[in-house]
């Protein structure tokens, strides 16, 4: 219980540091922060008024105090371009990114662990070498490149190699603009649109997890307790589930938390390539529009998600690993 409270406090302090950092970064950037925080189209009089309103004519400490008060109230500022609260924009984009991220994260672990387990069981054979080269290459591939390769396959390739209609997967957007907007048809439509983005993220994530799983499992299969279990005649399946899997899970749970930032970062590119209205695309669009409140709000939300994931990993560890229960 004390550990829980301590970890919660640590996470809160860390989140506050990150938020402060985004505040400072905006003010450390070249030029007048007012130029960044006031819409470029504003007239001189408007700019002066907005400057006073935003408190940019006050000392930095006062600005920080005001900013902190707003943050604590949940106010992340106003988007210049869309003229809506940043918090509202983020709330609209978050479910898209989370849906994309979490479904690929789940598939990532299922597929990655399976591939890694196969490699460990067949270690130092041709299968293992081929899978090692494959996972290393996919892991090294930039997500946007893999996304474009899939797009090429399902547009250029589909026309060239005459794919059947079922396999002609949509490569852009989250739903068919001409399709139905509710009910079963709409759900199927979203699912079909999700296949390529989720596949891209899953492929890269699963390749990484497979490499870790292989290393962990190879070491475990060499362990003394596995040899003992074999010697006393425990069947192979039981060795894998009781002895190998239960020992491999705790480090993989830590990895689950550590994999989240990668998936989120990957989803930035995937959202851009596949035109999904998630946080990554919101952020990139905001960067090009010089919409700084949105940029900073999205960065802060990403950081909050990563801190939460790490916290969840830390808290889940004692549940899976009896040795960590103090």
């Amino acid at each position: 219980m004390r550990l829980l409270v301590r970890r919660l406090l640590d996470s809160a302090v860390l989140l506050w540091l990150v938020l402060t950092f985004t505040f400072l970064l905006l003010r450390a950037a070249p030029g007048d922060p007012a130029a960044l925080l006031i819409p470029p189209s504003a007239t001189a009089a408007d700019a002066a008024r907005a400057r006073a309103e935003l408190g940019l004519d006050r000392p930095l400490v006062v600005q920080y105090a005001r900013w902190a008060r707003d943050i604590l109230k949940g106010d992340l500022g106003q988007s210049f371009v869309q003229r809506r609260p940043v918090a509202q924009l983020l709330a609209g984009a978050l479910p898209v990114s989370l849906g994309l991220g979490l479904s690929s994260l789940a598939l990532t672990f299922l597929i990655g662990m399976a591939v890694g387990a196969v490699q460990a069981a067949r270690r130092d054979t041709a299968t293992d070498t081929v899978l090692t080269v494959l996972t290393t290459s996919v892991y090294a591939a930039p997500s946007y490149w893999l996304a474009l390769a899939l797009v090429a396959c399902f547009t250029y390739g589909a026309a060239r190699w005459r794919f059947p209609a079922v396999l002609r997967l949509p490569a852009f957007g989250i739903h068919d603009p001409a399709g139905t907007s509710s009910g079963f048809g709409a759900a199927v439509d979203v699912l079909r649109h999700a296949i390529l983005p989720v596949a891209t993220l899953t492929a890269i994530g699963a390749a990484g997890i497979a490499r870790y799983t292989r290393t962990i499992a190879v070491n475990l299969l060499r362990a003394d307790f596995v040899r003992t279990a074999r010697a006393k005649g425990v069947p192979g399946v039981t060795i894998y589930t009781r002895h190998v899997l239960s020992n491999a899970l705790p480090p993989l749970v830590v990895l689950f938390a550590l994999a989240l930032p990668g998936v989120l970062a990957g989803s930035v590119f995937v959202e851009v390539v596949f035109a999904w209205p998630g946080m990554g695309r919101l952020m990139v669009t905001a960067i090009f529009a010089r919409d700084y409140p949105v940029v900073m709000g999205a960065a802060a939300l990403y950081a909050a998600l990563v801190i939460l994931a790490n916290l969840a990993g830390d808290l889940a560890l004692p549940i899976l690993d009896p040795r960590r229960r103090a």
């Binding site: 990150v18 930039p142 490149w145 250029y156």
Partner: protein
């Protein structure tokens, strides 16, 4: 260096070294010796989107085809390799130097300096590196220098943590105590005894960092926030080919293969260095 000798004895390390050497040679020689200027735009309508392994109407052979302006993709890819490799290497090395400096001073000086350095590095690690890069890229004008500086600013934390842990570990060894007892000054103990013994993991991390720096640079350039055209980099070449993905997928996909080969080579090299270091 005996590390490099030992490394080159495994097949992975050998492949990695050969790939990297071939890329560096290709980057230096191919654009210089190419029959067509990779930057010049000729008769774009007649020359554009030639598929790989074909001759164009001017009877020039194109290994990887041509892009939307009729320029040879392979030559441009090798020209882009100069920028991509240099930026990745410089970004990772500078980040490593900063990381070693911060980590060593945090461990050596201890106290509030240590606490502040680790708090800052924790806070920076909590933001996904790409997001941090995007924020910086949006605040400063794009270009080679900006990308290198931002890679340095967002990449030092991992190395700093490693070096700090190593220095703290090495400090407990008897030979450090003996050096102190013999009257060595603190700076000498740090430079002669602590750092050389604490550097191994940092070198591995930096080698692996080159790959991720190249990936991040390409990502920024793909989004249009990194290296700016007409200067080619693998990332902005892929972005160039994106609009033509439906009619000429090789324009976007070819530069990615060079990128993947480089990153795989860096990770093989880093893994092998780590393995030999642990023996």
């Amino acid at each position: 260096m005996n590390i490099s000798l030992r490394v080159s004895s495994t097949w992975r390390a050998r492949t990695a070294l050969i790939v990297l050497l071939a890329l560096i040679l290709g980057a230096l020689l191919v654009p210089a010796l190419a029959p067509t200027d990779p930057r010049a735009i000729g008769d774009a309508l007649a020359l554009r989107f030639n598929p790989p392994l074909t001759f164009d109407v001017e009877r020039h052979f194109h290994l990887l085809g041509t892009d939307g302006f009729g320029r040879d993709l392979f030559t441009r890819m090798m020209l882009a390799a100069r920028v991509s490799l240099l930026v990745g290497l410089a970004g990772a090395l500078l980040a490593g130097v900063v990381g070693i400096g911060v980590g060593a001073s945090a461990a050596w000086l201890g106290g509030w300096i240590d606490r502040v350095a680790m708090a800052v590095s924790d806070a920076l690690l909590a933001i996904p590196r790409l997001v941090l890069l995007l924020v910086c890229a949006s605040l400063w004008p794009p270009g080679v220098v900006m990308v290198v500086v931002v890679l340095m600013a967002t990449g030092w934390m991992g190395v700093a943590r490693l070096v700090r842990a190593e220095v703290l570990g090495v400090r407990a060894h008897a030979y450090v105590e003996s050096a102190r007892a013999l009257g060595a000054r603190p700076q000498r103990v740090l430079w002669r005894h602590l750092l050389p013994n604490a550097l191994g993991p940092a070198i591995v991390a930096i080698t692996l960092g080159v790959g991720s720096a190249i990936l991040l640079e390409s990502g920024l350039s793909f989004l249009g926030l990194g290296i700016q055209p007409p200067q080619p980099s693998w990332g902005n070449m892929i972005a160039d080919g994106r609009d033509a993905i439906v009619v000429a997928p090789w324009v976007a996909l070819a530069p990615g293969l060079a990128l993947i080969a480089t990153v795989v080579a860096c990770s093989f090299l880093g893994d092998e260095l780590g393995r030999t270091g642990n023996r």
